[in-house]
């Protein structure tokens, strides 16, 4: 019999109205990297929260067995005592404190309550070396991280690695990583996977939760797939292929990840001329330099580029929401428009789906109805008095059109999965009846099935004559869905590619400045 460090048996967890976990079982072998895959909303994060003590014993049914002993964790501390450390999707670092202070937060070495700072900084240095932050990685733009750097001055990838250093500072036997690479660059992903591999050699077991199946195939020893709150199965990596995992995740064979359809390009629906945006903090510096481009009805314009290329800044400036001065001309349907606020933009028929839906897109504690009508309160009111029936009516329309999975339109958005939350954002934006729709990272952090549905919605909108602009860092997605690709780099348009001549290399060349002119 294999030696299991962890067994979770028949875990059930019920939220009001939703059965999040239904008899999920999982066995993790000692010293392996065990991947958990599943669509968003499948219950992966819930399972991890049960395991790491976020949901204390008694709030769920089932059994957690660590090293053959049944455990009931009352809180995160109990799980940590067993060496189970979880790094959640939302990083838990204090921005104003230093790297060293963060790593030893809560268990500072001390004598009679007086913190031994030298000890902390010495240990931190060792940990930083271990996670590859102490020495400058070849080709990395990031400078070396020192123990007294403040977290807020670190990039998101570096922060992720600090989290891992923090986990290593405790006596970690089982490390759980929830979507650790969602915000990382490819180089940072490489570093992370190398570290996990090194840890495996030292005998640390890891549970790795990710949508990115390439990473899973590369690093995992075995994979458990969860779907709709049930465990579908566990296999060794050798018996699996990417497609096999996907079909287990969605419950059907996915022949094509992208529902590409032929579009016929119409007239110019949206045009930007010489658009420049100032840097919000540094006077005299510009973030966006003289950007000009056209978007046509009946096509999807993909906007690609590396992190920091200025794509989000460009479009939120055009939308009137970026807190810095901008200049340039914007035309919708050939007419010059003057946009000073998001309200103006929506009024002129320009809508934006923001990249960070929790921060900029949704009021999580409001329900689907209230979120859907938020941008179009004028449509569901008369003399500023709301008509609740009209609100429900329209919300129902969009819930059905977008196939949002929810028990009711009065469900709080917080209780929905990522994909369904994104559909609520889409519903809100579509209710404004936009002529031009900009989608900034529309499928970030959502699962394969929901991604596919969102692509289909984009196609439907193109059919209805909406100008669709998709900003995306996912090259496969850009190549899979766009009719034309705009590549940005350092605040400038670096190139424009028709889809039949575009490939990943060309886009990367343009993005890094190799294809200028």
């Amino acid at each position: 019999m294999t030696d299991f460090i962890l067994e979770m048996k028949d875990i059930c967890k019920v939220f009001p109205g939703v059965k999040a976990l239904d008899q999920v079982s999982i066995q993790v072998g000692r010293g392996e990297i065990h991947a958990i895959c599943g669509e968003n909303g499948a219950g992966k994060s819930t399972l991890i929260k049960v395991l790491s003590g976020v949901y204390p014993a008694g709030t769920y049914d089932g059994e957690i067995v660590v090293d053959g002993k049944t455990q009931s964790f009352e809180g995160i501390e109990d799980a940590e005592k067993q060496g189970i450390i979880c790094i959640h999707q939302e990083l838990a670092l204090v921005p104003e404190l230093s790297v060293g202070e963060n790593i030893f937060l809560g268990n500072q070495p001390n004598r009679l309550g007086v913190v031994k700072w030298d000890e902390i900084y010495y240990q931190t240095q060792l940990l930083l070396e271990k996670v590859g932050l102490a020495a400058s990685v070849a080709g990395s733009e990031h400078p070396v991280v020192t123990p007294d750097d403040k977290i807020k001055n670190l990039g998101i990838g570096q922060q992720q690695l600090v989290e891992i250093a923090k986990a290593l500072s405790k006596k970690t036997r089982l490390l759980i990583l929830d979507e650790p690479t969602a915000a990382l660059t490819e180089k940072e992903v490489d570093i992370l996977l190398d570290i996990l591999d090194a840890l495996r050699k030292e005998g640390v077991t890891s549970i790795y939760i990710s949508h990115k199946l390439d990473e899973v195939m590369r690093i995992a020893d075995s994979v458990t797939v969860i779907r709709d709150g049930k465990s579908i199965g566990t296999s060794g990596i050798k018996e699996l292929t990417k497609n096999k995992i996907i079909s287990m995740m969605v419950g059907r064979e996915l022949t094509n990840l992208f529902p590409r359809v032929e579009h016929t390009r119409g007239e110019v629906g949206f045009e930007v001329k010489n658009f420049s945006v100032d840097h919000p903090e540094i006077p005299g510096k510009k973030l966006i330099h003289n950007v000009s481009f056209k978007a046509y009805k009946g096509e999807i314009l993909g906007v690609s580029g590396l992190m920091g290329a200025g794509r989000t800044e460009l479009f939120s400036s055009i939308y009137g929401a970026f807190p810095a001065k901008s200049e340039g001309e914007v035309y919708i349907d050939g007419k010059r428009v003057d946009i000073k606020s998001p309200g103006d933009a929506i009024g002129h028929g320009l809508s934006l789906v923001t990249e960070d839906r929790k921060r900029y897109g949704l009021v999580l504690d409001m329900n689907i109805k209230e979120n859907t009508t938020m941008s179009s309160l004028g449509r569901v009111s008369k003399n500023a008095i709301l008509n609740e029936s009209a609100e429900v009516h329209y919300t129902n329309e969009y819930v059905q059109y977008l196939k949002t999975k929810t028990p009711s339109v009065e469900t709080r958005v917080r209780n929905l999965s990522g994909g369904n939350q994104q559909k609520v954002v889409l519903g809100k934006v579509l209710m404004t009846e936009p002529k031009v729709l900009v989608l900034d990272e529309p499928t970030r952090g959502i699962d394969v099935g929901a991604k596919y549905e969102i692509y289909k919605i984009m196609n439907m909108l193109v059919e209805e004559g909406v100008v669709v602009i998709m900003v995306s860092s996912d090259l496969e997605e850009v190549l899979g869905m766009s009719d034309r690709i705009l590549v940005m780099g350092e605040g400038k348009v670096r190139g424009e590619l028709a889809i039949d001549e575009a490939n990943q290399e060309k886009i990367m060349m343009a993005a890094t400045g190799g294809l200028q002119g």
Binding site: A321, A345, V363, D365, E370, S375, L386, A390, E397, V399
Partner: protein
């Protein structure tokens, strides 16, 4: 998208039942317990109509302030200046009327405008210059307390004209009271029918007419019961009537208008509201303006009740208003809270003041007990939320 229908996910009739959350339920339960306790300790004097009438008058000013304070707190902000503002405006009214011979309508109009202006100025500094509300209104607290001392030259100014005093001291005649009650029932009935018509228009299920009739009958019984009870003493006190009317207006604004929805969205997520095209800064200024107007009304009521502009008027009342809003369910982090909750909170605190002074307990106990109630109410709410 027009081919879509309302086939699925119709809101069930259950959704239209009044939603009473645990906190409101606990507060009402606590209130009933307090009333029983005070009735017992005062040998029934507490429940005499005369005392109930007093109790309602006591809560009126804090209730009026609380209605606006809820909106401010819902946006995730605070207003510490209302106590000083109401004192200042009461003093200003006295100076205008008594020292300069102004008539009642002119005085009141100027005071209301001044309240609105003060709100607009404070709100604009908060919304456009982005100075934290705590700082701006703490400044306002000091400035208007100083302004009050300056305007009154540190002395009480009295007496007001009888038409002014009416607002703070008078009772509505029995006949008018009954007429108002009937009017309230008619409006309530019309509202229910309106809603029903709108639901029918969209093919939503509606409740049976019997159930509706029952709802109207219960409302009519409660409204007329309270009015007849008050009529058996002196009638409805004008400040209480004013508070009820303002509460109804503000509840309507908060729950049925685009402006109200916008401010709840702002409190829930300011950034998302901005990206959704809501003019967050303008709305914030309006919220402070409304709060300023309510402070002005409260200032008029208080000065009319005292029949004087006094240098200490409204001292610490901002804290009572905040406490009323919070006891009534408003969350200091924004996004949630009910106007009617503030009325409940105000009633709660007035009950403690009234009951304890009837028991001849020293005044210091009232502060201590109110402090405990405030912390317990919020603590209980957070405790139950975390457990879920």
């Amino acid at each position: 998208m027009s081919e879509l229908t309302n086939a699925a996910k119709l809101p069930s009739k259950k959704k239209n039942m009044p939603k009473i959350d645990i906190r409101t339920f606990t507060m009402i339960g606590g209130l009933v317990l307090l009333w029983i306790l005070f009735t017992y300790t005062t040998d029934g004097t507490f429940l005499l109509v005369r005392n109930i009438s007093n109790l309602l008058r006591q809560m009126a000013i804090v209730g009026i302030l609380g209605a606006g304070m809820v909106l401010v707190i819902v946006t995730g902000n605070i207003d510490l200046s209302v106590g000083s503002v109401l004192g200042f405006l009461g003093g200003l009214a006295a100076a205008l009327m008594i020292w300069n011979g102004w008539g009642t309508p002119a005085t009141m109009a100027v005071i209301l405008l001044a309240g609105a202006l003060i709100g607009v100025i404070q709100g604009s500094i908060i919304a456009y210059i982005k100075v934290p509300a705590f700082i701006v209104t703490l400044g306002g607290l000091l400035i208007f307390r100083g302004g009050l001392l300056g305007v009154t030259k540190g002395v009480s100014i009295a007496p007001f004209r009888p038409s002014y005093i009416y607002v703070g001291q008078a009772y509505v005649s029995n006949e008018v009271g009954v007429a108002l009650g009937v009017l309230a029932v008619v409006v309530w009935t019309a509202t229910l029918f309106n809603k029903r018509r709108s639901r029918l228009k969209y093919n939503f299920p509606v409740e049976s007419l019997y159930k509706m009739a029952a709802k109207i009958a219960v409302a009519a019984l409660v409204i007329m019961g309270i009015i007849l009870m008050l009529n058996s003493y002196n009638g409805i006190p004008v400040p209480v009537l004013l508070m009820v009317v303002l509460m109804v207006i503000f509840t309507f604004v908060a729950e049925k208008t685009t402006f109200g929805r916008s401010i709840y969205a702002m409190g829930g997520n300011m950034e998302a509201s901005k990206y959704s095209g809501i003019d967050v800064r303008k709305n914030l200024v309006i919220v402070y303006m409304l709060n300023g107007v309510l402070a002005a009304i409260a200032g008029i009521v208080l000065s009319a009740r005292l029949n004087a502009g006094t240098p200490s008027a409204g001292m610490n009342m901002e804290l009572d208003a905040i406490a009323a809003a919070v006891i009534g369910g408003a969350s200091m982090s924004g996004g949630s809270g009910k106007v009617a909750g503030a009325a409940l909170g105000a009633l709660f605190m007035a009950t403690i003041d009234n009951g304890m002074s009837m028991m001849n307990m020293d005044a210091y106990w009232q502060y201590i007990v109110k402090g405990f109630i405030l912390v317990i109410a919020v603590g209980f709410d957070i405790y139950t939320k975390n457990k879920r």
